[in-house]
Amino acid sequence: MSYCVNCGVELDPSAKTCPLCGTPAWHPELDAPPYFPANSAAVQPASRREAAILLTAMLVSVSLCCGLLNLFLPTDRPWSLYVIGAAVMLWVWFTLPMVLRRLPVFFRLTADVAAIGIYVWLISIDLGGSRWFRGLALPMNGWAGVLVFLLSFLLRGGRRSTLSAIALIIGAAGLLAMGIEFCIDRYFRGVWQPGWSLIVLAVCVGLIIPLRIVRRVPSLREEARRRFNL
């Protein structure tokens, strides 16, 4: 029979430490049978296979119906591409995470952005807009994809503090604005003349600086945590 010298409670004969405070027990009986079983229940993630199959079947069915209708009914436009593109996008957004649960979130988000790119590409086929797709939509979508990838990579696992995470998101928004204006200027004027995006970037930097200061100074950081329940 052993007691915890800190808590004053009687411990299980086999306990090596007090479960309440972690104080080592005096001469535990290591061969005494433990009060609780040692093996833990292996809890598998809930299966979403059925839901994924159902959703996939629905999207494929809708795409097939629209595709066939478009093929056999006399129309002058490939309108079914809109439906098929939307189905592909929805599949990547909702079904892929169900099937590949262990896919890191930054790959998943990048796939989501790529799905948007594919949808826009299909629209450009219908509208005959391969020029604007290559010159405007693709670079903008690619830049957004790069930023989303980087952001989700930097924020993975929730290891960053809330303040750092907010600063990173604001920074990414500023860079996105810069990239969008760059693409627009290159496409319409052929030369980059930064204007409105600089204002957005300056505002973002203005927001990031106090956040970084609060993050760096312990007393300010503690005060922010207290005030905002971080």
Binding site: D12, A15, F36, N39, A41, V43, A46
Partner: protein, 424 residues
């Protein structure tokens, strides 16, 4: 159960809530365990399970998702099968796994455990089931245990009164409505993965506990509630929050004492004893007094009835009934967070003394109760007494042990010896 002949059953109020809260990593589960004097004989226990379950049709069900509500239907699949116990009890149930069973049975050395999904039954109902199961197990091992004294007769068919929705039967004309309750001290800790379930049990002599409670002119439930509030107030103060919030407990009340019912399904409501540190410092005797008077003032037939009448009206409202369940669930989960989680710091439930017929008593040496995980990483407290021992369990998915450590240290300082067992 509303329509047993039509082979599907409506959930009661509490069942509707618990099934709406169901997630992959959370289920409302609780466990009762009996420590026998002899090692458990698995074959005899499995026989007992097979014989007892048909007598309790409300436990032998699976849950199905309808368009507007969940519903229960008799489970004809094989099982439920007795399993060797695990270190992390009260794991979430999955409606489509384990053949759809919502009750589980475990054994380990001389311990028999029953885990129940809360949508099926409350603690009082599950204890009737458990007592009958233990009686049948002892019969299977050659010990004669007659029916009666809380043990149901397996030879008689299930009675209609045992399967009734007592909420619907006793719903009155006046509903309490949703009252705004202030946000309480959250008492949350560092979350661990949902399958890491920490259980710490304290065993205390019932007589010593009763003496201590009597010295404050309180019942054991009031005394232990006050101890819990006291340690949570001190814990909050140590954390130096910007604003100290009230410490409030959710204390489930068995409604069968006020509204006679034989139901083995849910029939509980909760009361909320609390102390607001913004009003000033309270000594421990003052906290006991506050809790005691709160219980006396608020636990009466009219207020309890008004409390559950509102919930019954919710389930009978035509417009709400017409909302599909996938839309209703998130709203109910938000509602539960606002009115069932945010205004509380901890849950403390005390099903009271577990009594058995005299023929069974020499073969059972103790009882344990574990309340499953909360929706947030904080501990739940539950207690049950058997013979001259009160067992108090703190269980949760949080890494810290502050609440249980302070609680049991307080009891030791009060002169009550405590024996601790834990799976940490």
């Amino acid at each position: 159960m509303a329509k047993p002949d039509s082979q599907w059953y409506r959930l009661d109020n509490a069942g509707i809530l618990y099934s709406a809260l169901q997630r992959e990593e959370y289920s409302a589960i609780y466990r009762f365990s009996a420590l026998m004097t002899e090692p458990v004989r698995p074959a005899a226990l499995q026989n007992a399970i097979d014989r007892v379950l048909p007598r309790f049709p409300s436990f032998a069900v699976r849950i199905r998702r309808g368009l507007f509500w969940y519903y229960l239907e008799p489970n004809t699949a094989p099982g439920p099968f007795l399993k060797a116990d695990v270190a992390n009890p009260c794991q979430p149930v999955r409606f489509r796994e384990d053949n759809g069973w919502l009750v589980r049975f475990y054994y380990y050395r001389n311990r028999i455990s029953l885990e129940v999904f809360h949508a099926l039954s409350d603690g009082a109902g599950a204890l009737i089931f458990f007592r009958t199961l233990l009686a049948e197990y002892l019969r299977q091992t050659g010990i004669s245990v007659p029916a009666g004294n809380g043990v149901l007769d397996l030879e008689e068919p299930p009675r209609k009164d045992e399967l009734e929705d007592a909420y619907a039967r006793y719903a009155g004309r006046h509903a309490l409505g949703l009252r705004r309750m202030p946000k309480a001290y959250a008492n949350t800790g560092t979350p661990e993965p949902f399958y890491t379930f920490h259980v710490t049990m304290g065993f205390v002599p019932l007589e010593k506990l009763r003496e201590a409670a009597r010295s404050y002119d309180a019942s054991i439930t009031e005394y232990l509630s006050a101890v819990l509030i006291h340690v949570l107030l001190e814990k909050q103060r140590r954390e130096h929050p910007h604003k100290e919030r009230p410490v409030a407990l959710a204390v489930p009340i068995n409604l069968r004492s006020w509204f006679p019912s034989e139901t083995v399904r849910n029939f509980i409501t909760t009361v909320r004893p609390s102390i607001d540190p913004a009003l000033g410092d309270y000594t421990f005797p003052e906290i006991v007094s506050q809790v005691r008077h709160y219980m006396k003032l608020h636990i009466h037939r009219q207020e309890l009835q008004a409390a559950f009448t509102g919930n019954v009206r919710f389930t009978k409202n035509f417009f709400l009934r017409a909302v599909p369940v996938f839309l209703k669930n998130p709203v109910m989960a938000l509602n539960y967070y606002l009115f069932g989680v945010r205004p509380y710091s901890c849950t403390y439930t005390n099903p009271g003394a577990f009594t058995v017929p005299p023929e069974m008593a020499p073969h059972i040496q103790g009882m344990e109760v574990v309340l499953g995980q909360a929706t947030v990483p904080r501990c739940h407290c539950a207690s049950i007494s058997y013979g001259d021992i009160m067992e108090i369990t703190f269980a949760g998915t949080q890494a810290e042990t502050d609440t249980e450590r302070d609680f049991f240290r307080f009891l030791v300082r009060e002169g009550i010896p405590v024996r601790i067992e834990s799976n940490r």
